[in-house]
């Protein structure tokens, strides 16, 4: 854990030290301002000639001005450090996520885990500003003030030393320990509360019909009260720490003041310095007030780090045996592929075999959860099977270097992502060297060129997060255009025409259409039943096993699962049909 931060922080330390130095200077400027002001007044009270005051006056003005400037510099450099750390954190976490299999990554995206990780990374970036810099500044001023006061009298030094130790270390530690249980129960109560709110909002229909709104409301009231009680307990820890710290600072000041009075009385200290010393003691405690705020932040950091640590460490770059370009025709042979869920050990795929070569077009169908997407990602080399062989022209697929492997396999996943970049950038992901002409050509093939010509910025249209610019179907076709631009000999497609109107998907999946060419192999996971007639072979997957395989007429004659699915599919109303559109 610490080792990770050590590497991440290593290049940032100079900025952090600079910021801590500025912070320290600002603290000293404040101490200086109050002490020299008090000295100025004490000196003036003795009514000397005006000239004797001039040094003190200059001092007051200097400190008055410098404090604000040092604070500004501290903030600026502190945030510079935070943003540098953010950059390093992002790269670090990207490197740990990148090697995970694509199917795993897709699960993360679907469960919205990435948003949480990004938020956690954003929390961690404040480590320098909210923890390291104030801690460093506090530590150095602690030493400085103890040493400085020892010059006057060791007892004064001792009072300050004990005061700061109590206020800065012991009290926060005690309250942190007290708060820990509270923070944990707060997380639980928060989950209860969320569940109660979800029921009251999402369940509103069922609750109204079954007359249980009153019951749900009671649950909500209880959950809300529970949440507030838990929040109160954790708040008490921080507030108590603040109040106790405040009192200790004041008490230490009183002790220091009493000692100073004794010193003046005994003649060990000139009276003119009394006020200055007293204010010096008072204002030196300033550096230690942010410590209680650190408590809360420490808890946030802890939670964020625990969540992020669940990720695997970054993977070392693997060395591949370099392979020569494979001679066409490219063939992909899968023999007895099996794959299990890592958690339960249940089979996702059981002994699946198939062969792809140019002109061979295979469809995979089956109920959801049958293992179709897993099969596709294994064939694409995104995920390793637990058993079985995968050979590309006789070579083990996993022994071929990733970039080369990728040049043979063209893949469109079910949830192909389009990035917040221009249409051209999104297309060139497939082939960075493609000319505008080639981009247009690929768009023509998926019947998208006309729609894009209508856009004011055409190929340079930015695809924003709000999805403006292109409709869902157009975005899907853009993914297909990207695939065609790559021109791979083997295409692996997961529901490529989902959400497209039947006419268009029919044209895309027609025999000798853009996706079913005789010089390419195709594996198609689909619910597009009209497309099946054009396929050479259909694999019916059920619970990971191929239960039926053959051409469309063969399968319908078998009267098995495929036949039932076919009937169920054709028993559904198709409201996209012409008759429903005409009345519009």
């Amino acid at each position: 854990m610490l080792a990770i931060f050590h590497t991440l922080l290593l290049p940032i330390w100079p900025v952090i030290f600079l910021s801590a130095a500025c912070s320290l200077a600002a603290i000293f400027a404040n101490v200086g301002l109050m002490a020299t002001s008090a000295y100025l007044l004490s000196l003036a009270a003795l009514q000397p000639p005006l000239a004797t005051l001039s040094t003190a006056i200059v001092g007051v003005r200097f400190f008055g001005l410098s404090r604000a400037i040092f604070r500004y510099l501290e903030r600026y450099t502190g945030h510079d450090a935070a943003l540098r750390l953010l950059s390093a954190l992002r790269v670090r976490f990207f490197r740990s996520l990148e090697p995970l299999p694509a199917t795993e990554l897709y699960k993360y995206a679907a469960a919205d885990l990435f948003s949480r990780m990004v938020a956690d990374v954003e929390t961690l970036k404040f480590l320098p500003v909210r923890l390291i810099i104030p801690l460093l500044a506090a530590l150095v001023s602690f030493i400085a003030i103890t040493v400085l006061s020892a010059v006057l009298h060791w007892q004064l030094s001792l009072i300050i030393f004990i005061g700061i130790l109590l206020m800065g270390v012991l009290v926060p530690w005690l309250f942190y320990r007290q708060g820990q249980g509270a923070w944990e129960s707060l997380a639980l109560r928060r989950a209860d509360f969320h569940a109660a709110v979800v029921e009251n909002v999402r369940g509103i229909r069922d609750a109204a019909v079954y007359d249980i709104s009153g019951l749900l409301r009671q649950r909500f009231v209880a959950a809300n009260a529970g949440l507030i009680r838990a929040a109160y307990a954790s708040q008490t820890a921080v507030a108590g720490c603040d109040a106790a710290g405040l009192f200790i600072a004041q008490a230490a000041l009183l002790g220091g003041l009493a000692l100073l009075v004794v010193l003046v009385d005994r003649g060990d200290l000139a009276g003119v310095y009394l006020a200055a010393w007293a204010l010096l003691v008072q204002s030196s405690f300033e550096a230690f007030f942010p410590l209680s705020a650190m408590l809360r932040f420490l808890e946030e950091i802890r939670a964020a780090v625990i969540r992020l640590m669940e990720l695997p460490p970054p993977r070392p770059i693997a060395a591949f045996a370099s392979t020569h370009p494979l001679p066409p025709p490219i063939q992909l042979l899968a023999t007895n592929i099996s794959c299990r869920y890592s958690a339960s050990g249940r089979l996702v795929l059981n002994q699946v075999s198939l062969q792809l070569h140019p002109g061979r077009h295979i469809a995979v169908v089956g109920p959801s959860g049958a293992g179709k997407s897993t099969l596709l990602s294994i064939l694409a080399g995104l995920q390793r099977p637990d058993e079985g062989l995968l050979r590309l022209n006789g070579h083990d697929l996993y022994q071929i270097e990733a970039s080369q492997r990728n040049s043979y396999l063209g893949l469109v996943l079910q949830h192909d992502h389009l990035f917040h970049a221009t249409i051209a950038d999104n297309l060139r992901l497939a082939r960075p060297s493609a000319t505008d002409g080639e981009l247009w050509q690929s768009l023509e093939q998926v019947f998208l060129a006309d729609a894009i010509r209508q856009l004011p910025q055409q190929l340079t249209t930015n695809l924003g997060s709000d999805g403006h610019g292109l409709s869902g179907g157009e975005r899907r076709r853009l993914s297909l255009a990207r695939l065609l631009l790559k021109d791979s000999p083997i295409l692996l497609l997961d529901e490529p025409t989902a959400g497209l109107d039947p006419l268009l998907s029919g044209r895309l999946l027609a025999k000798d259409g853009p996706l079913l060419r005789q010089d390419r192999a195709l594996l198609l996971v689909t619910h597009q039943w009209d497309a099946l007639a054009a396929m050479d072979e259909i694999l019916v997957l059920d619970c990971g096993s191929v239960v039926e395989r053959g051409s469309l007429p063969d399968l319908l004659n078998q009267r098995g699962l495929f036949h039932d699915m076919w009937n169920l599919q054709h028993d559904q109303f198709d409201f996209s049909a012409d008759i429903w559109q005409k009345t519009k």
């Binding site: 003005r61 979800v198 509103i204 507030a239 039932d564 028993d571 996209s576």
Partner: protein, 557 residues
């Protein structure tokens, strides 16, 4: 920092607000006592030659003031927390009451996420407003005026310096704040892009991998994050200026007072103790301004949260269903008639249903078909009394639906929605729903829904906890539980949405059989997705764009 709804809530918490004011006043008193005693002690030891023993009363008073300050600090936080808790609870209650009054039709599925946020994390802004902004605001109401009055009684010049510098603080902060906002809005698009890029890449990582382009992205992330740093810093350079002026004004104010008072002291126009007293009060005078400046955004966050809640609460809370009073109970399957019924969700949207007329005789099985958005669900919502027709009338056995008591009417309906909600609780509770079942009743309903075997193989059986935080269920299982609920209720009218979850023939055909059982001896309206369902219905009603386009029985061509 004023917002009507927030103000209304604060007014109803008058005692806590008064408490804040009292605590601030007490805190002010402690500060004054402390500063006074401090000045008196230094003066006594320095100029009057007093020993520690002679100054004991001042030390005692200072210790008391120190305790008082710690206490007020704690009390201030406590009051802020209680204020926030009370207001959050009240606002949450208001939102839920509003939702309940407006009815389920006002909570479309696509908006539930937004609502959950508003009731949950959306309230954080209220915490900030009460806990950080208001607590500091109560100090600023008390401390600066009192300090000014005290300094005024000692020295005009010092008072004048304080009086002039104080208003400059908010002035400069606002001016610089606006400047920073301008710079930020100029860079907003770029900053948003750079800030969001990382998440975009992560979400698209599976795609990048598929293209073999993922490894090089680490470099792109590093490059863009660096760009984010430089452009963020260019905004922060200005944004931090407002804090700079704030600090500058307060420290320079203190410095100027020190020099001015020092010179007066030199010329004998002021006593040392008074001069030191003023010097000690000066930073305390400025402190509330500094704190309020630091928590300015907390105030904004609260106002923002309150505004969003206000917008929700204001939005037409018309309870469109009319609660009838007739004493009435349905014993047998009812006949239903729609007479020229129209409904629109709002004036600026096309009507969801237009002049719909049809009738269903007692015990008839009717299938509703039509593309999504054609008005099928609206028709169900009308029958469930979630909404009320704009014009026309719905008759149940000849009685107008609006004259029937809502709860009793709903008790006569078994409803199987498209997305049944599973509540946090046991399977048993989710089937029996609030009523106390007689022994074997739940088991019977589950058995008729075809859930028996599945439930019995669960370790906790009928006591298995489902819903949020409980066992996850597949779409098919959830559907069967909704069907079990309908069997359990055994009502004479059945409203059923047939939507399919997965293309799994075994599961779908089994559910189909169970539903056929459920339909017996009831008046049934089913939103049909399957042709066979429509075929087996007594009658089909086809809707399109809110209009009834065809009604009749299935005629195979």
């Amino acid at each position: 920092m004023f917002q009507a709804l927030l103000w209304q809530e604060l007014r109803s918490q008058a005692r806590l607000m008064a408490g804040l004011f009292v605590v601030s006043s007490f805190s002010c008193l402690c500060i004054i006592v402390q500063a006074y005693c401090f000045a008196a002690i230094v003066n006594g030891a320095f100029l009057s030659g007093l020993s520690l023993a002679g100054l004991t009363p001042f030390f005692a008073a200072m210790l008391a003031a120190a305790l008082g300050k710690a206490f007020t600090h704690r009390a201030n936080e406590e009051l802020g927390f209680r204020l926030a808790a009370a207001i959050k609870t009240s606002l949450r209650q208001k939102i839920l009451t509003h939702l309940f009054d407006a009815g389920p039709a006002a909570v479309p599925r696509h908006r539930t996420g937004e609502l959950l946020q508003l009731i949950g994390d959306g309230m954080d802004g209220i915490d900030d407003y009460c806990g950080k902004y208001l607590t500091q605001f109560s100090y600023i109401l008390v401390i600066p005026p009192v300090m000014l009055a005290i300094v005024f009684s000692i020295d005009y010049t010092a008072m004048a310096i304080l009086f002039v510098t104080a208003p400059l603080i908010p002035l400069f902060m606002i001016l610089i704040g606006r400047w920073a906002e301008q710079i930020q809005s100029r860079q907003w698009k770029l900053l948003r892009f750079l800030g969001g890029h990382f998440l975009d890449v992560l979400i698209g990582l599976s795609t990048l991998k598929a293209w073999g382009r993922s490894e090089e992205q680490a470099l792109v992330i590093a490059r863009l994050s660096d760009k984010l740093r430089s452009s963020s810093l260019s905004v922060l350079r200005v944004a931090f200026l407002s804090a700079l002026t704030l600090e500058l004004l307060t420290t320079l104010g203190t410095a100027v007072i020190a020099v001015t008072v020092g010179l007066k002291l030199l010329f004998g126009q002021l006593a040392f103790q008074q001069a030191l007293f003023i010097l000690l009060l000066a930073p305390e005078f400025y402190l509330p301004f500094r704190q309020l400046g630091a928590h300015y955004h907390a105030g904004l966050a609260g106002v923002d949260a309150a505004e969003r809640i206000d917008a929700l609460l204001v939005a037409a809370p018309d309870r469109t269903t009319v609660a009838g009073t007739k004493d009435w109970l349905l014993q047998k399957p009812p006949a239903i008639a729609f007479n020229n019924v129209s409904f629109s969700y709002s004036a600026d949207r096309p009507p969801a249903l237009r002049n719909i007329s049809f009738s269903v005789s007692a015990g008839e099985q009717v299938a509703l078909i039509g593309p999504s958005g054609s008005g099928k669900s609206t028709l169900f919502d009308l029958l469930l009394k979630f909404i009320h027709p704009d014009s026309g009338e719905i008759l149940i056995d000849g009685h107008s639906l609006s004259s029937l008591p809502t709860e009793q009417w709903r008790n006569c309906i078994a409803y199987v929605p498209q997305f049944p909600h599973l509540f946090q609780g046991t399977l048993r509770d989710n089937i029996s729903f609030g009523t106390i079942p007689s022994p074997g009743q739940v088991e019977l309903a589950a058995a008729r829904a075809g859930l028996e075997n599945w439930i019995e193989q669960l370790p906790a059986g009928y006591d298995t906890v489902i819903g949020e935080g409980g066992r996850g269920l597949s779409g098919g299982e959830a559907k069967r539980i909704a069907i079990a609920r309908a069997f359990f209720r055994d009502a004479p009218l059945l409203l059923l949405d047939e939507a399919m979850t997965a293309l799994d023939p075994r599961n779908e055909n089994a559910i189909q059989q169970v539903i056929r059982e459920l339909q017996k001896n009831r008046t049934v309206l089913v939103i049909a997705h399957r042709i066979s369902t429509a075929r087996s219905a007594d009658r089909i009603i086809a809707l399109h764009d809110g209009q009834l386009i065809e009604a009749g029985d299935f005629m195979p061509c």
